[in-house]
Symmetry: C2
Subunit: 432 residues, 2 copies
């Protein structure tokens, strides 16, 4: 501390002591805003710690988080892109990038990720965010007030449930079937909410390679959903985090493309196609909506340095082949995991093999509880979350108990062993 | 769009057309959340555009935004730091960094920026954010609910006013004098608010190299302020964005250091000491408060890649000399600007030369209005904001009219010319 005389130093110490005494009498929790009270911290990646306190018999294999393959990170490509991004005579890469983010990157995102639109959306359809999670937070800020209702699939991404709750919003769930969100349940929910005098303001869905179930919404269901939402005047927020990781010749069109760009907001991200540590995602919507959310952006925007690095990486021609390569990596891991689990798992669970994405969802047979399998899995040396955390109500709500296996990050060498440990965990729980 | 048959394609086009027709009947603004209605977009850097529509007689010199010197950006140092950050065998730099951010960077921030504490705060006192603006947003999320009151200096940083309003919070202003926030007015404000049944929850201040006035709070005032706040049980949020840019041998201690770390939250940033485009800042508080704000973090954290790059840059030994060098750069620019303005400006304004930071605040003589001088300045070829935008009520509230000149970004070669243009603008307005 800057001091001029010993007296001053003593006086300042006395000030600090008096302040401490005053604040010691007060509980910090008493100062927490009402809106945060009752909310919990944590993200899906925290699930990996859910076994703490339980002893594992070997170094655990993690199948916990939706994280890209560790061995395939394009570190050198990103570094070269950063060199090019910084190699400009002006200070552009290191000055505020504005609330929307670097325009050429937004334009590239339109061309690559929204290429299924009849007319490719321009840069003015996008705002760049801290990942898809940041985009979902922005969409909530734009459209929702406390007490509003969002309708979502149950189960769904737990991080989004936290975000909606953080905005003081209730999440009403509808189930999925093999074609995606059940529209009969959706219509009934909307009618019921309206009868109760509550207006649902948003339908949140993960139509493609759904987290956690892996289900992909059929084309017919997509068309029916966007029409239903347009009829009801309710916006759709589609989470497309896993969209580009398809194991079939093509991925289905986004809801935004099916709807012709109206009434649908799309959250997307570079997290799953490159790395979660980039923390760059976007919200896509019609320009009038993008403009309406600018007053809700208080953080002076994201890093234009990262935006320019990503733009350089995209236009260098390295990005598309990287994604293509990753599709093969994940498809192979899924195939290995499914082969390990299919026949041997028959007594314990069933699953539908997804057509893309990061997750395999095991629907447990009667009597097996997800939390028990999770705990036994940790003892066997495999980390994965139980299904219940993905439900708005925190219970399976009529669905069978389940566990979610993320095969994306687990090394190819560990996949089969991970699957064997899941089987051993199930056998142990089933055996009582 | 993925299509299988011409019929399907036609059907999908019909779906999109029907959706568009439905949404065309609805005004997007009708869907904006109540909390965003009436708020405006924009940041301080937008001030540079405030002259649009007015014709400038020469290419303008910008003295608009609080942006570091363009010529001194450590691009090569950052690039080398990025190389080192990526040169690790694991995937750490590119995986989610957690809600708090990269721990070694938080520890370094404690050592460098919070070095004036009797005991250096550890990593658990910090959460990393999108710049100081992101930290202020987090502090508001932690402590404030709609209808609460924040007390702030008037004038103050306009971006923070926007943030508080975005949280539905009223900002009550107290004036500054040459020693900083006036505590007589502060006490009266608190008493008056309590008499009206309204509890002020937070005191927001920029004690060091204040934006926009350049005032630095005296040590005695610091001690009195933290004691007053402790007595009243009101937290202080200090914005230290400019703290390290001192032109004197040392900077004054932070309020947090004076208060012994209790009752004070400190927003800090790398924006002004390196570059605004990094978008990395932090909130410092006692660990119990940091923990209480985690439930309000919905964006899965910031980029650990940038955190690691900054950490490498700090520990390389390049950071401290860079900041030292920048102090000299800004001190020289301020001296040149002040020399240009001091005598010649006498008929039009007065100013107190700040001891650090980016801004010179010109208090205009009777009859000169800031908006007129701004407009005339643009015509002369100088861009700078009027003072009124920095007041919670949007008017000088008893203070003289003013304009703010940012000398940080303007090239050394342009500084004197910029000052001359400001003088010409004043002369033109004064001349009627």
């Amino acid at each position: 501390m800057t001091t001029e005389t010993p007296d001053l130093e003593a006086e300042l110490q006395a000030v600090a002591a008096r302040c401490a005494a005053r604040w010691n009498d007060r509980d910090p929790a008493g100062f927490q805003s009402a809106r945060l009270r009752g909310l919990t911290a944590g993200s899906m990646t925290d699930w990996g710690l859910a076994g703490s306190g339980v002893k594992s018999k070997r170094p655990p294999i993690s199948m916990a988080g939706g994280i890209p393959d560790a061995a395939s990170q394009p570190k050198q490509g990103l570094l070269r892109a950063m060199e090019r991004a910084l190699d400009v005579p002006d200070d552009g890469p290191l000055v505020y990038g504005g609330p929307l983010g670097y325009e050429p990157l937004r334009a590239e995102i339109g061309k690559y990720f929204a290429r299924d639109h009849a007319e490719i959306p321009g840069a003015d359809h996008f705002i760049l965010t801290n990942g898809a999670a940041g985009a979902i937070d922005m969409a909530a800020t734009l459209l929702l007030d406390r007490g509003d209702v969002v309708i979502a699939e149950m189960p769904t991404f737990a991080g989004s449930l936290r975000t909606f709750r953080g905005h003081g919003v209730e999440v009403a769930g509808v189930h999925l079937d093999d074609e995606g969100m059940r529209l009969d349940q959706l219509e009934a929910r909307i009618a019921q909410l309206r009868a109760d005098g509550r207006a649902p303001k948003l339908i949140y869905t993960i139509p493609t390679y759904h987290n956690p179930t892996g289900v992909t919404m059929s084309l017919q269901r997509r068309a029916d959903l966007v029409e239903l939402a347009a009829r009801e005047g309710i916006h759709i927020l589609e989470d497309t985090a896993y969209n580009e990781l398809f194991f079939t010749p093509e991925r289905p069109p986004t809801l935004s493309a099916v709807a012709g760009g109206r009434g649908v907001l799309t959250a997307g991200t570079f997290s799953k196609v490159i790395a979660t540590g980039l923390r760059i995602g976007w919200l896509q919507a019609e320009p009038a909506l993008i403009e309406l959310l600018l007053p809700g952006r208080f953080d002076m925007g994201n890093s234009p340095l990262l935006h320019r690095m990503l733009h350089e990486y995209m236009v260098s021609g390295e990005f598309a082949p990287h994604v293509e390569r990753m599709r093969g990596v994940y498809a192979a891991k899924l195939a290995a995991l499914a082969a390990t689990l299919r026949d041997a798992g028959e007594p314990y669970f069933e699953f539908t093999q997804p057509e893309g994405g990061f997750f395999l969802w095991l629907r447990l047979r009667d009597g097996l509880r997800g939390r028990d399998v999770q705990r036994a899995g940790f003892e066997e040396g495999a980390i994965f979350p139980p299904g219940v955390g993905f439900y708005p109500g925190g219970d399976p709500d009529g669905d069978p108990e389940a566990v979610r296996l993320a095969y994306s990050w687990t090394s190819a060498a560990d996949i089969a062993a991970g699957g064997e440990r899941v089987l051993a965990a199930c056998a142990r729980v089933a055996g009582g």
